[in-house]
């Protein structure tokens, strides 16, 4: 019970809300790391997966990429790149972008591939070029899965951006690493709660984005749920 009191104190102490080490500053750093990494990841992953999905090539790689990508230990990547590149943010972004890419590739590929062949053929029959088929037919139909992929990616990146603190940088991980070194449970828990809240906020935000971007009448929920379960989407 004393622990909860300490935790409450940590959250209500004005010192923790001000300055370069306060919650707002660390939160902003964390959001920056996550946003940039997810964006770069999507920038690399989307075109690649869209092409693979549209042409139907590279399926084995695309589908298995997520599971293998999940296996890459982010802590190891951060440290390895740090040794190569020195004390800058490159190690952090290398690890986070590597983490962000696989779910987007796999989900986008599966989404595009799962577009009904009949739909694709009728679009081609209507005279649409390959690119138009992709843009006007496949992407909109695949949108729920594409968004699910980006969402999964973003949430994973938010959780893993905590590792930036391990090599001395900022973000919410600072509360975890400093809390660990001083065995300050209130600080650590506070940091954990903040990361969890941020993850949930990201999920909700992407959920809203998805609702805005996905047109009605696309993909019944049940089938998508099963596909998402197979793909390991950690979002609801």
């Amino acid at each position: 019970m004393e622990f909860l009191a300490d935790l409450f104190e940590w959250f209500t102490d004005p010192i923790n809300w001000s300055g370069t080490e306060g919650i707002p500053a660390r939160l902003w750093e964390h959001i920056q790391y996550s946003l940039i990494a997810t964006f770069i990841g999507a920038l690399i992953a989307l075109p690649l997966a869209l092409v693979l999905g549209h042409t139907g090539r590279g399926g084995l790689l695309a589908i298995n990429l997520t599971n293998t990508g999940r296996a890459i230990p982010s802590l190891g990547i951060i440290i390895l790149v740090y040794i190569a590149a020195g004390l800058n943010l490159l190690p952090v972004y290398a690890a986070l972008v590597a983490l962000a890419i696989p779910p987007i590739v796999t989900n986008t590929y599966v989404g595009i591939r799962s577009v009904d062949r009949g739909v694709r053929e009728s679009a081609e029959g209507m005279g649409l070029t390959g690119f138009q088929v992709l843009k006007d037919v496949e992407i909109p139909v695949a949108m729920p899965l594409i968004m699910a992929g980006i969402r999964t990616s973003a949430v994973q990146v938010v959780a893993t951006a905590t590792l930036a603190a391990y090599i001395g940088f900022g973000g919410l991980g600072r509360f975890l690493i400093d809390g660990l070194a001083t065995f300050d449970l209130a600080q650590m828990t506070g940091g954990a709660v903040l990361v969890a809240v941020l993850s949930l906020a990201v999920e909700v935000a992407f959920g809203a984005l998805q609702n805005a971007l996905v047109s009605e009448g696309v993909a019944p929920r049940k089938r998508t749920a099963t596909i998402r379960a197979k793909l390991g989407s950690t979002t609801a």
Binding site: N64, N67, T68, R70, A71, I72, P73, S74, L75, G76, I77, I79, L80, Y82, I83, A84, V155, A159, T160, T162, L163, G173, L176, I177, G179, L180, F183, L185, M188, T189, G191, A192, V195, A196, S199, L200, K222, A225, T226, A229, K230, G232, T234, A236
Partner: protein
Amino acid sequence: MDWAWVGSHLDDIQHLLLQHITFTVSALFFGFIIAFPLALVAARYPRLYQPILGITGVLFTIPSIALFLLLLPFTGLSETTCILGLTIYTLLVLVRNTVEGLRGVPDDVKEAAEAMGYRPLALLMKVELPIALPVVIAGLRIAAVTTIGLVTITALITFGGLGAFFIDGFRRDFATPIIVGIVLSVALAVAADLSLVGVQRVLTPWARTRR
């Protein structure tokens, strides 16, 4: 890449690889025996599904470093803490996938089986589970690979499996142990993934006949 270091540290590599495997297998085992009943309950009583999913989902968003640290006052700086934390992280995926797998069984199949006289346990064992198996195993694959990655985080609480090499290499500005750690963890994950795919093939012979 210093191969001489690899040669002279085969004992350490073996020890840490074994620790890594033990933590992973233990976490998956305990995770499954907790998740499976939870999933059965959630599949039978849909109103419980959202809360169960909600709780396991929230647990999943706790950053792994934090979860292990929060367990320290309760279970100490021990293997128990590591395995407990790892087990908790498997729950979301295992519960979700098992439930989705069970819910994916078509209603008419279940009705036909009941009409043929299958009682609930037989229905579960002989009809629902076999049909749900691919999604359930997909969940095990994801849980296995995720766990193998998370074991490295336990390096921050004096364990780490292959992750211990990261801490060592970092402190000494020495890339070789780090590379060994990364390569072996990924290899382990790929091996686990492929084995589970193999298990799936063995358990679902009817799926093999589709061309």
